[in-house]
């Protein structure tokens, strides 16, 4: 029990509950069905790519390219859907995501480039390409037909629960097993904690590291489809801006260490939820929306400082 209380995930979970209670007390609208559904949808969409970024961070890497990737993949989806059957368009989007992630992985593990640099170049490159292929015009789905099922999968609800949240729960459940119950997960933590010792134990460390970038890309692909239908119009210069930072913040809040070797799926999901509740709080409590980022930054800082002080005690 004592061990549980000391875990970062638990502290952040308590913080989330307290925040929810405070906001609900100040503005009962917080608990309204429409508001909860909207938060749930956002948690779902952000949570999926945050899990991907979290995996990368657990190996001691970083993925800065996600926001631009979401924009590029959104543009790709919007441009393909009028011409292709939707399953093929989805496959193309996910395929692009996996290939780009794999490319990051190869550059990092084969050429020994720093993850920060590789994915920073990705951030710049994909944004530029997205704007170029879209002619810098906002892309939408207009009145094109034939992919209602996909639209429903991305934006619908089951028993009142938004689809993105259901998808997140499925992804989180699968990744929980993978990370905390499988050999892959064991190796991932081993590589994150001590890459050399892992290599000396016969683990293919390069393949392990590269695989997390592939997963990060793939999850960004899934999120990008959900986000495209959520916004319903993709402005290539702003769509997905800063999303990589939401992912990194969620992972760090949820107990991942940027040095690697630490973290959990539960923590990342809670971290994502916390960020979304904070955004919601700014709206509901009438705080000027220009302070949005300031509130988020302050709360993350307080969380991390509190965690450090508690640990040092």
């Amino acid at each position: 029990m004592k061990k549980l209380l000391l875990k970062r995930e638990f502290g952040i979970f308590v913080l989330l509950l307290v925040l929810c209670i405070v906001v609900a007390a100040l503005n009962p609208k917080f608990l309204g069905a429409a508001n909860l559904q909207n938060i749930g949808r956002l948690i779902g969409m952000y949570g999926i790519f945050s899990i991907g970024i979290g995996l990368v961070i657990m190996t001691g890497g970083i993925d800065l390219s996600i926001g631009s990737m979401v924009a590029l993949l959104g543009v790709e989806l919007a441009m393909l859907l009028p011409h292709l059957a939707w399953p093929l368009a989805v496959l193309a989007v996910l395929g692009t995501a996996v290939v780009l992630g794999g490319l990051h992985g190869l550059l990092i593990t084969r050429l020994g480039l720093q993850p920060f640099i590789v994915t920073l170049c990705g951030l710049l490159f994909y944004r530029g390409i997205a704007r170029f292929i879209a002619n810098d015009e906002t892309k939408g789905f207009g009145d094109a037909r034939g992919f209602e099922l996909l639209q429903n999968l991305a934006t619908g609800r089951v028993l009142g629960v938004p689809m993105p949240l259901i998808l997140l729960l499925i992804v989180a459940a699968v990744m929980w097993v993978v990370l905390h119950r499988s050999v892959y997960g064991r190796y991932l933590f081993a590589v994150g904690r001590n890459e050399e010792a892992a290599r000396y134990s016969g683990i293919n460390t390069r393949r392990m590291i590269a695989s997390t970038y592939v997963l990060s890309g793939a999850f960004a692909g899934v999120s990008s489809i959900l986000l495209a239908f959520y916004t319903n119009s993709i402005s290539p210069s702003s769509h997905g801006n800063f999303y990589e930072l939401y992912g990194i913040a969620a992972a760090v809040l949820g107990g991942c260490s940027l040095v690697g070797g630490e973290g959990s799926i539960f923590g990342i999901v809670i971290g994502t939820a916390l960020l979304q509740v904070l955004q919601n709080l700014v709206n509901l409590l009438g705080i000027p929306s220009s302070l949005n980022f300031a509130v988020m930054g302050a709360v993350i800082l307080i969380g991390v400082v509190a965690d450090r002080l508690l640990k040092n005690r």
């Binding site: 097993v177 119950r181 499988s182 050999v183 892959y184 064991r186 190796y187 933590f189 081993a190 904690r193 001590n194 050399e196 010792a197 892992a198 290599r199 000396y200 134990s201 016969g202 683990i203 293919n204 070797g261």
Partner: protein, 504 residues
């Protein structure tokens, strides 16, 4: 104690203990102006500790240091510099992204511009050139250190020491990374420094260098004075005798029964010594001691066999089968396991529990369809802990909380759950207490009896002589020789290790 007049520096009855371990005991040393004193001894004899005391890095636990006949305390590196004691470390201490002049005057840059404290570029280069000229060095003072060969970087360090008005220069294995001609140059420079009145304490394992330049030899053995030699008395044999000097009683290990070679290494060239070819065999069930001085290339050879470092060339054959080893993964697949020297860096994942460390290399046994069978893993880990007598509160304890000996046992458990054909131990008992040492030797012998080939890298002479059935000695990247049980003496190993091919 006799006080000789005019000693620049004198140590009387200096002792140093680290957490109960005696590194130096009752050591005396005296340095006179303008002489080169060579300090010799085996690995771990206390040479470096003594140098660090003189350089202000360590404080003696007991004893007196006299500088110019006055009792003095050298409490820091700055104190040492103040007394005119300069230290050239074995590992160079230069900033490779800064130029020559900047390195010489690091922290003492001539400045101008009042509060702006701008570096006086003209002056710093003029002054630097002065010291380089004194060393007969013709290199541009604006060259970045990383663009210079190691030998020149070392000269820059010496120039820096001179600029600090050094009267006593401590040189710890200054030639260990120099080529032959660079070494020649350094030796003649050392002599020039002596002629200009600087005294030098010179540590080297290379006895031919010592013979060439030393005015006097002081030997340390097990942290104590082991005697000295005057200029006329210096010879290879006399020095080796001083360094070794003791008699050991060993048990004779059983000779290996098998005769077929388990491991055959042919023409192996490592990245550290790409020009030297290594070839040797190990029979199944044989314990081969791998002796040599620190830096002789033994670890590099082991890393190459294990696939941790890519060899430049060479073939590795096990049980007659040619292997292509490009990563530890390949080596492990063929039953070649390494128990590395640096347990915390490469042997274990110290923040993970014992359980996860013992099974890390054999996860496929404790999983089905990629999912871990935690029950089976726990049972196996508990069994190994019991079998190897790992002292722990539970298998969930992180290995960083274990003692060195118990950590070593966890690494052994990791490999022995697989089927080893060749085990490479790199300094198997370094930092391990006597009790655990005996257990590890016992295990090693049992493994050999069960047919495992063992390559044991060790700098501990007692260990090499006590545990090996055969000893292969390396010297500067090459195999200097191989000694059978009956020819294996400390003296013979030492002779080969210092590159002095004795008749055996």
């Amino acid at each position: 104690m006799i006080r000789s007049k005019g000693a620049l520096l004198e140590l009387q009855a200096v002792s140093k203990r680290f957490a109960g371990v005696v590194a130096l005991s009752d050591v005396a040393l005296e340095i006179h102006p303008g002489e080169i004193v060579a300090l010799i001894g085996e690995n771990g004899a206390g040479k470096s500790t003594l140098m660090k005391i003189l350089g202000g890095v360590h404080q003696p636990t007991e004893g007196v240091i006299l500088v110019d006949g006055k009792q003095s305390a050298i409490r820091s590196v700055n104190d040492a510099l103040g007394f005119g004691i300069g230290f050239i470390h074995q590992e160079l201490n230069v900033l490779d992204n800064v130029d020559v002049a900047g390195n010489i005057f690091l922290g003492r840059e001539p400045v101008w511009g009042g509060p702006l404290r701008l570096i006086d570029e003209g002056k710093i280069h003029r002054e630097a050139k002065k010291y380089l000229d004194r060393l007969g060095m013709r290199i541009p003072t604006g060259a970045l250190l990383r663009d210079l060969p190691i030998a020149y970087q070392q000269m820059v360090e010496i120039a820096k020491a001179l600029s600090l008005n050094t009267r006593i220069l401590l040189m710890d294995e200054p030639t260990s990374s120099l080529t032959l001609s660079e070494t020649e140059r350094l030796l003649s420079l050392t002599k020039e420094l002596r002629a200009s009145g600087v005294s030098i304490i010179y540590i080297s394992h290379r006895l031919s260098e010592v013979k060439e330049i030393a005015d006097r030899v002081v030997a340390l053995r097990d942290g104590r004075n082991a005697g000295g030699l005057s200029r006329e008395e210096i010879s290879h044999d006399a020095m080796v005798k001083l360094m070794v000097g003791r008699d050991l009683a060993y048990r004779q290990p059983q000779p290996a029964k098998e005769t077929r070679p388990r491991l055959e290494i042919r023409g192996l060239r490592t990245q550290r010594y790409p020009k030297q070819e290594i070839s040797f065999d190990i029979r199944a069930g044989e314990i081969v001691g791998f002796a040599g001085l620190v830096g002789a290339g033994r670890t590099e050879a082991a890393q190459a066999i294990f696939g941790a470092d890519k060899p430049v060339a060479g073939t590795i054959r096990i049980d007659g089968q040619d292997l292509k080893i490009t990563s530890p993964l390949d080596a492990i697949a063929h039953g070649i396991y390494l128990i590395p020297e640096d347990r915390r860096k490469t042997g274990l994942i110290t923040s993970m529990p014992i359980r996860e460390n013992t099974t890390l290399a054999s996860m496929e046994r404790y999983s089905t369809g990629g999912l871990i069978q935690f029950g089976a893993e726990r049972t196996a880990s508990e069994r190994y802990c019991k079998e190897f007598r790992v002292k722990c509160s539970s298998i969930e304890q992180p290995v960083k909380n274990l003692s060195g000996g118990n950590q070593q046992k966890v690494i052994l458990a990791k490999w022995l759950s697989l089927a080893p054909r060749l085990l490479i131990f790199d300094e198997p008992t370094r930092g391990i207490d006597v009790g655990a040492k005996a257990e590890i030797y016992d295990l090693m012998r049992k493994l050999a009896e069960s047919g495992v080939a063992i390559l044991m890298i060790s700098s501990d002479m007692e260990e090499v002589l006590g545990e090996s059935q055969r000893v292969v000695v390396m010297h500067e990247g090459a195999i200097a020789g191989s000694l059978d049980r009956e020819h294996c003496t400390e003296q013979a190993i030492m002779n080969l290790a210092v590159g002095h091919h004795a008749q055996v």
